[in-house]
Subunit: 305 residues, 4 copies
């Protein structure tokens, strides 16, 4: 165990699991959250070797710690946390480390890296895959971008929260790959949902659809998990529609920046957009099937159907 | 080993592997193929306990065998093989069995089943998943639709060609599920391809994209396989673009029949349609990435890039 | 006025208007309709110089007349009317003329032309634009395909129903152009609807949207007409959703046959498909906006809003 | 003629035509342009009653004039011109007027209006339709948003550049309607292009397609104009692909903000995106047909085809 002091910004679904693991594995952790009261309440619930403090601002957090992790919801939130008045950058110093775990644009990640390097500090991007369960159990996969030396330096801390660490290249490359990943899973969700709705209208036993998918070369644990939700109508949020739409939007913007087209992702985003229009923004991403069911004039099958 | 006489119609990529396994496992097999010469040539290459004959017509094939399997390319071909002049139906009798392995519409499958039942024979649908390799190694997954008794009766023969047999329900249900499956894998291909093209333009090491995907909850053997093709530019055909477009078209038609919409599959089909327009119709489905690369003004990365 | 005897098949929205004009302008007209009773009732309501008879079958109709016009709902209906048992073809003779006004595929039109030519008769395609109002007032635009001589020969009869006659080329070319036209108006409808829904949610005075559109270089009488319906919620059927979806489907099939892609038409068809899923199949095509309103969680504005 | 001093920012295709008309009709005009040299050169070419000056900065321009018009390419450019260091706002005073003619987001327009109102000045949005030709001939249509009194106050100046002035409502409403308009014309372009490509592959005389469209209820001057470009391959820029993609992107973002979906516009934008990927970004919007031609493996028809 090191004596490094860790700061953590953002207490969403993912952040809470990550903090819990850092604390339980003996790190000195200080929190900052936009809603201060929830940070204080959450800190009081944590049980580790050391008490968990709450800082007054991102700037104060940076001044009180050696490494700050950030896991917030979108690029605008990151902009303010890093570059805003009382932002992390204003509290950083030579040797300080900033780790960006939010899913944001490659361009923002690169701008952050340059800003910290300019003052002799260092920033690495480290978005994660693994959902709520991975965050809670400390088995996330970290996808890093930045200098190789920084990746290695930070491994001991990342190891408290994850089980696998893939160094993707220079700054921005992990953000790019993360966006591709969330785009890919959007396709899988939408594809399964579109197919299930037609099969449901046809009258097929939907569990057979999942059985066939999972017996095929294109099987994936994701289909078992989200397909189960689609069959049962259990849309308890592990990954919210609003957040995935945000990622789809960032991916399309990056594609536009590269003058590449993503015709099907564009179609998919509009379906998820409809989910937001129909009040499902804070539900799990598997709830997108409800949009397609409504469009086809059917409902979630009930236990007694 | 039974003494059942097996007929087989269709010597495409899948059919050849299936026949080879039937012959090697000791069945008496007779073939029929639209191009007679290729059936004769293929029959001469097979090495089993019994010589392989070639029938003059589907009707003759039915008259010389107890069970006829059919694995041809599209509904029109099936229509002719079954209902055409000198078709299987005209050569069938009470107790005869017909097994439809082609990917066709639920409606056609149901019409075939009724026609054979009307003469005291029986028809079962049994489309497969598993691609060329599964056909060759006898490890296909058969998805069956029809009476349970028929499914059980035919298991000993199916077992020569497959490793798993999922009875999906009455006639037509397997066709429906097969179409959903091929729609789902279309989403996965397109999703990976769209993402890889943007990542390539950005300058990311594409092998890292695959590594991240395969370390995530949405990992799938399919991504490793087809993603590898997309990176290397090896589009040797396991599943041809023309055939997948055919399946996408059938799925959209079935969705239309159910008044359900499949917005993203519709978008995907148009990209695959462009692959046909650009001369990739007989290439592997992974070659769809070339359409997106061309649209974005880039090429397949070369070994020395 | 000639003494030609005219047969007419199909008494839908368009057919009734066309027949009314033929009768009022003094032609001898005989009808055939799948539902015989509605043909008899309609015939009794017509007031022209000559009484209107009803034939027993398409074959009988052909035998009793010199020229048969057909205006039915889809290619399957045309197939049966022409090639079916007791079809027009079986009642035709040398010198007989068949005019196909239905919107069908180029391939079917070409097949019909060949069949009539083979017996020394002649067939021309002549789909129309102009909607219900044009049919009733005799101001349709006829788009013809076939030999130029046939186009000229039939002009006197067409003139009873239309005001403009565009000869597009050989058989099939008019069908192709008609499909392009109905695809184009699908784009205009969907485009206006998608924009109006966002504007409505924003809170804009929707009549201002129409005013701006109609003051621009992209103004069109179609926008005034269908836009008015979208604002008022008056979806009285001039052109039914089911029929336009049929045309969109034929267009996509023709594009597929040509290995060309129509990415946005594919997207549009799925929205119209949803209209069918939501029970709007027999409503006017302008009702597609209701699908987009529902997806966005809003309703048609009410007079007192 | 008034003695009002007019400032003008932005000398793109539209701006040049607008300035030319202001000068010719006797206004005192001062220019500012990011590239100062082109403003000086353009000023020297203008021939009106008064010499045309060039200001050092937007701030200086505001200080030297009574009304500043702005017609630049995107929201980022507007942000800098208005709110940046040495921006118009910093040079404005009570009674000053700012008129935003660029196509931007409703939100930005509203923010600008509030900022000028806060200092006792006034801002109105007045995007235009009419393309390059309308700008040159002074026959633009101005779509305004803001207080009715401001609309009336500015009419005498707008009248030098336009022929029609539609007051759409409060600030932001004109921007919203302008985006709907440019979305609508995107649909018309894409629809015509998709149809023409299939017709071309089929072998139809494309001039017949335009003749039929223009004889139909959905005729529009826009189809004659842009359709002509698509047939001839003359893509001389009146409205650049890059600019229309920008507007499509703003419209999709506004739709997202309203949780409304625009499935077909999303599909269309990706096709236009491909045009950018293929080097057509600065060509006329009618060149989008080249993307579809390339996807279908054909070329622009040549005069001798």
């Amino acid at each position: 165990m090191t004596t490094q002091r860790i700061g953590f910004i953002g207490l969403g679904i993912m952040g809470r699991g990550m903090v819990k693991n850092l604390v339980e594995k003996g790190f000195f952790v200080t929190l900052w959250n936009r809603t201060r009261s929830s940070a204080i309440e959450f800190a009081s619930e944590l049980t580790g070797a050391h008490p968990v403090a709450v800082a007054e601002s991102p700037q104060a957090l940076a001044m009180q710690t050696d490494i700050v992790f950030c896991c917030v919801k979108d690029p605008a939130a990151v902009e303010e946390v890093v570059f805003g008045p009382n932002g992390v950058l204003s509290g950083a110093r030579s040797g300080f480390r900033y780790v960006e775990c939010s899913t944001v644009t490659p361009e923002l990640v690169q701008r952050i890296a340059k800003a910290f390097e300019a003052i002799g500090a260092g920033a690495m991007e480290a978005p994660v895959t693994g959902s709520k369960l991975g965050a809670q159990s400390g088995s996330l996969v970290f996808i890093t971008g930045g200098p190789t030396a920084l990746h290695e330096e930070l491994l001991p801390v990342l190891s408290a929260m994850g089980k696998k660490f893939i160094h993707c290249g220079p700054s921005g490359h992990a953000a790019m790959i993360k966006l591709v990943g969330n785009s890919t899973l959007s396709f899988m969700l939408e594809g399964l949902a579109e197919g299930l709705v037609v099969a449901q209208k046809f009258g097929v036993d939907l569990s057979k659809v999942l059985e066939v998918v999972q017996s095929s070369g294109y099987a994936s644990p994701f289909f078992a998990w989200k397909g189960g939700n689609m069959l049962s109508g259990d849309f308890d949020t592990h990954f919210a529609v609003d957040l995935l739409v945000k990622d789809q939007t960032l991916m399309l913007a990056e594609a536009a920046r590269q003058s590449a087209s993503m015709p099907a992702l564009a179609a998919i985003r509009e379906v998820f957009q409809s989910a937001r229009g129909q009040g499902l923004g804070d539900k799990d991403i598997s709830s997108v099937i409800e949009v397609l069911r409504a469009a086809a004039g059917i409902k979630t099958p009930q236990p007694n159907d």
